[in-house]
């Protein structure tokens, strides 16, 4: 898949009803968003590559794997794609379950086109944000991996708010040595300030 496609968001429509599928595609494409449609969850899973930008529009009730099942399945596989759920008739427990699993919206058929398109837009935006977060995380993690065990130790203590002296005492080395480790950590982590380093570590640990 080309880099252009990779960056351009796609709406994945999964619905077992062909008419519904085609009409959704027709409607969503009217706002210039690319649509790929699938007749079942399995179909989708077979073709979807994680990390692609866009969102998922799911019919709740489908033979085989239902919409909610698919949602859970993706979450379990750590695939974070925003989901918009469409249902024939909303029932509250199902909506709650969908939202808890991280659905962006829960729309009842027949729906106002604005409502759907709006939800899709939000979903795509959410996805973008998530994706950027995700790439930052990756970078931080990569940097963390470049640290030596000693540097990692020092970094942990630094982020815990310990002074150089304290750290030197704890590790049984001179404060000067700690000073040098710290400078290397800052450099490796590309952190401009201590606050930035702390934010990075928190972001990574919080995400984990």
């Amino acid at each position: 898949m080309s880099e252009a496609n990779q960056s351009k968001p796609v709406v994945f429509v999964v619905d077992d009803d062909q008419a519904m599928r085609n009409s959704l595609k027709w409607l969503i494409e009217s706002v210039g968003v690319h649509v790929e449609s699938f007749s079942s969850a399995d179909d989708f899973l077979a073709q979807y590559q994680p990390g692609r930008a866009g969102c998922l529009v799911l019919d709740v009730r489908m033979p085989g794997m239902s919409g909610l099942d698919l949602q859970e399945h993706l979450a379990n596989r750590n695939i974070h794609i925003p989901v918009v759920i469409i249902t024939g008739h909303g029932d509250v427990p199902m909506a709650v379950r969908a939202m808890k699993s991280g659905a962006i919206d829960f729309i009842e058929k027949p729906f106002n086109d604005e409502v759907l398109l709006d939800a899709i837009r939000r979903a795509i935006a959410h996805g973008e944000q998530q994706r950027s977060h995700h790439s930052e995380h990756l970078q931080i993690q990569q940097r963390l991996q470049n640290l030596t065990p000693r540097e990692y130790e020092v970094m942990e203590m630094v982020t815990e708010g310990k002074s150089n002296k304290e750290i030197a005492n704890a590790l049984g080395v001179s404060a000067k040595t700690i000073e040098a480790h710290r400078a290397r950590v800052m450099e490796k982590m590309q952190a401009g300030s201590l606050a930035e380093l702390v934010r990075m570590v928190l972001a990574v640990n919080g995400a984990d």
Binding site: M20, S23, S30, P63, G88, H89, K109, F111
Partner: protein, 846 residues
């Protein structure tokens, strides 16, 4: 075999054979007896002769002793033996011979009596032989003297026989004296006992046949014999016994001799046997003559007898020919007359016996058959047969009579017929009938018949038909009465009469139609049918009914038809009476039944409808969802179009296609609504030609929403061929929906991923078209299986219990079947079978 030989010849043969046998036996016996007699005579003669021979021999021997004494005591001897002269003589033996006789021997020694000793010797007292005289000139065998001396010294014997060189010698010795009586030795005479000696000893016997011999018993050999020609010395005794009778005797008066010698007398056998043979020959000749005479007399006697028997036979055969008409006895003249006679007598007796037996059997069979016939007729007769004598007393009472009147045979015999069984009021008539029968019989007239009242044992009076036949036996007159109980017949006649009135009294139409379709009978209630057919009795039925009547007659089995007249609906039962060639028609007014049925059907339809509608209620959300689909699609398309138009994007073709989609979806929504209306609307059941697969597919889509709710898809295994059936589609769909929903309910407990629902269709081996719904749900317990199709039976909390009952009603109305198979815990299969519409299948295919 003997039969072919004439009697005289037989007698001759018999006589000759018997004579021969007798002759042989007598001959043998006589020969033996004769030889025995001869032997005895011979033996005694032999003994006698032997004794005599021995005596003679002995005397001869003694004469030697006498001679010795004579010589010894002679004066010459005494003179010669002068002791001075003789005593001094040298020891050489003086030899004398024939020419030189010794001086001591008397000159005139007579040799009369044949006594001529071979040697004389003088022996001195020392035992030395001084002088020897050999009368025959032969030298004394060497050694003999020594032997003799030994003997003489050993025993003082005067005379003895000794054996020297296998030859017997007689030695005689006598002492000698001189004149002074002084013993001067002795004189010894030695003589060989040879043939000459022996013959000399027997010289006075005339019979020359006898031979005497000296026998050595140890060697069983002859040492010397009187006849050396016939009995050679040295020959063995066993060889001699063939030709001679031998008697051996020991010598007497030889005591002291150690010589074991016997004196044998031999008599030649030949002479005796010749004599015996001569006697026997004579005897035989005489016997032969006697036998011939007896046999001849015997044969003559038989010739005479056989001629007499032959004559007798001829007469007897003539008799048998005439008396018994037996053509045998052809070869009577030849052969053994006695045997033939015996045979003939045997045959004759048999013939007579057989003839007698035959006659007796014939007679008996005739009697028996007549009796059997009579008894059979009497026993088997359906009529009561009674024989009475001229006074009316019962003689015989057959089983039917016993049964009819309930009297046993022995009870009836001897009673008066009239009093026993004729009702009092009919007795006169009976007497008259008897009389009339007699009169009629005189004229050779017919049987007299009449109807009378009879009375049984229990007093029941009933009509009988009676006919009388008088029978004139040799000694008496009897009547045979034939009676028939006609009570039943009368009842039957009455019954038939009343039966004939039966159909006419029937309130339902009854008709009879013959093979050509002509109405031969129709009762009053048939009017409506006749009016419908437009015909009257004795007219022909309309053509379609005529055909039906014909068909029923041909098949021979009853058939039912329905006919709707202005007055109502009738069911006509056509019952063929094949042997008479007509059909009885029994009609039944079934108007009210039909009305009731229709009412029931209408109610059922209503029920079906109500159930359906209630189902619809349950399905409402599903239906709503289904409607939602096309509606949502329409909205999406429409909005999509509007946006494109607003933004002026999208090509015209694109928009047109979207509009087309809108139209399609609207159509789809319309379809759903139409079907919904079909399900809900109350209407008459119809029959239309549909493909069962299409129905199955439509049904699946109808409940697709519910399927989604249960998160499963139906596995469709529908047949590739079209399954044409003539059904009410809505009702069949109703059944299928019901089955599918039941299946879904049954699978609630099963995890969604494992749920499996299959709908299958096809053709069964028996030709029925089927569709079945299979689930892997909880299944049905065998207890519930029994009530599965009962109304108001439900295992669900919300169920009305009408689903399967209604389904069964619907399928039954379609002449199909619905059945359930279930494996508790594993699932169930519900199968609907429907009759295929073959014609339409063909037409649809073409």
């Amino acid at each position: 075999m003997l039969r072919g030989i004439p009697l005289p010849a037989l007698a001759l043969a018999f006589g000759v054979l018997t004579g021969l046998a007798l002759w042989l036996v007598v001959d043998r016996l006589q020969t033996r007896a004769l030889s025995h007699i001869f032997d005895q005579a011979l033996e005694s003669q032999l003994d006698q002769q032997a004794r005599e021979s021995l005596i003679r021999f002995d005397e001869y021997r003694r004469s030697f002793a006498h001679l010795a004494r004579l010589v010894a005591t002679h004066r010459r001897m005494a003179d010669y033996l002068d002791p001075i002269i003789w005593g001094r003589r040298s020891s050489d033996t003086l030899q004398y011979d024939r020419d030189h006789t010794p001086p001591w021997l008397p000159d005139d020694l007579t040799w009369q009596g044949g006594i001529s000793p071979a040697y004389f010797s003088l022996v001195d007292p020392a035992g030395q032989i001084r002088e020897l005289y050999s009368s025959r000139g032969a030298a004394l065998p060497v050694g003999l003297i020594g032997e003799v001396n030994g003997q003489l010294v050993a025993a003082n014997r005067r005379s003895f026989v000794t054996l020297f060189n296998d030859r017997p010698w007689l030695i005689v010795t006598e002492p000698t004296e001189d004149n002074a009586r002084t013993p001067m030795g002795s004189i010894v005479i030695l003589s060989p006992i040879d043939d000459a000696f022996l013959s000399a000893s027997q010289q006075f016997v005339k019979s020359s046949n006898n031979v005497v011999a000296i026998l050595d018993p140890d060697a069983q050999r002859i040492l010397a014999s009187s006849s050396p020609v016939s009995v050679v010395a040295g020959s063995r005794l066993a060889a001699l016994r063939r030709d001679y009778m031998v008697t051996a005797q020991s010598f007497f008066d030889y005591d002291g001799s150690d010589m074991n010698l016997l004196f044998a007398t031999l008599l030649p056998r030949a002479s005796f046997e010749r004599t015996g043979q001569q006697v026997l020959d004579l005897e035989r000749r005489q016997r032969l003559i006697g036998a011939a005479v007896i046999v001849s007399a015997f044969v003559l006697l038989f010739v005479f007898m056989s001629s007499r028997i032959s004559r007798l036979l001829r007469r007897v055969s003539q008799l048998s020919r005439r008396a018994l008409d037996v053509p045998n006895s052809g070869p009577l003249q030849h052969g053994n007359q006695l045997l033939i006679l015996e045979e003939w007598i045997r045959d004759f007796v048999q013939l007579v016996m057989r003839a007698r037996e035959e006659m007796r059997r014939q007679h008996e069979t005739e009697l028996l058959e007549t009796e059997k016939l009579r008894v059979a007729i009497m026993d088997a007769s359906l009529d009561a047969i009674v024989t009475v004598d001229e006074r009316g007393g019962i003689l015989d009472f057959n089983p039917t009579a016993q049964e009819t009147f309930d009297y046993r045979h022995e009870e009836a015999i001897g009673r008066s017929f009239s009093e026993l069984v004729v009702a009092p009021k009919s007795r006169d008539a009976f007497e008259r009938l008897l009389y009339l029968s007699l009169a009629g019989a005189d004229q050779g007239g017919a049987l007299q018949r009449a109807e009378l009242q009879a009375v049984a044992r229990d007093g029941r009076v009933f009509p009988v038909e009676l006919s009388i036949k008088p029978v004139f036996l040799e000694e008496q007159l009897v009547f045979t009465l034939y009676l028939r109980d006609i009570a039943e017949r009368k009842v039957r006649e009455a019954e038939i009469r009343s039966l004939a009135a039966f159909p006419s009294e029937s309130p339902i139409p009854v008709l009879r139609i013959n093979g050509r379709g002509v109405i031969t009978y129709a009762n009053q209630p048939s009017a409506a049918l006749l009016k419908h057919w437009g015909c009257r009795p004795l007219q022909t039925l309309p053509v379609n009914w005529r055909n039906r009547v014909e068909a029923v007659l041909q098949t021979g089995s009853t058939k039912e038809f329905e006919v709707q007249t202005d007055d109502g609906i009738y069911s006509l039962l056509l019952a063929p009476v094949a042997e008479l060639g007509y059909v009885n028609v029994y009609a039944r007014d079934i108007t009210s039944e039909r009305l009731a049925e229709e009412e029931a059907k209408r109610r059922q339809n209503e029920l079906v409808h109500v159930t359906r509608v209630s189902n619809m209620g349950e399905m409402a959300t599903g239906i709503a969802h289904e409607l939602n689909q096309p509606l949502s699609a329409i909205v999406n398309y429409a909005n999509g179009c509007a946006r494109r138009l607003r933004l002026d994007i999208g090509g015209k073709d694109e928009l047109l296609e979207a509009l087309g989609q809108i139209s399609d979806q609207a159509g789809r929504a319309g379809e759903i609504i139409k079907r919904l209306r079909g399900m809900v609307s109350r209407r008459q059941p119809v029959r239309e030609l549909v493909d069962l697969n299409v129905l199955a597919r439509e049904t699946c889509s109808m409940i697709s929403h519910e399927l989604k709710r249960h998160e499963l898809a139906i596995e469709r295994r529908l047949s590739e061929d079209e399954l044409w059936v003539r059904v009410d589609s809505v009702q069949i769909e109703q059944v299928l929906i019901n089955l599918l929903r039941n299946a879904l309910d049954a699978m609630i407990e099963v995890p969604a991923a494992e749920r499996r629902l299959v709908i299958e269709s096809g053709v069964q081996p028996d030709g029925m078209v089927y569709v079945c719904v299979q689930d892997n749900g909880s299944g049905i317990s065998s207890r519930n299986m029994e009530h599965l199709f009962d109304a108001f039976f439900s295992t669900k909390e919300s169920g009305m219990g009408m689903g399967l009952a209604i389904s069964q009603t619907i399928i039954n109305n379609h002449h199909g079947k619905i059945r359930a198979d279930s494996w508790p815990g594993k699932g169930s299969v519900f199968t609907i079978e429907l009759p295929p519409n073959i014609d339409s299948a063909v037409s649809a295919a073409s």
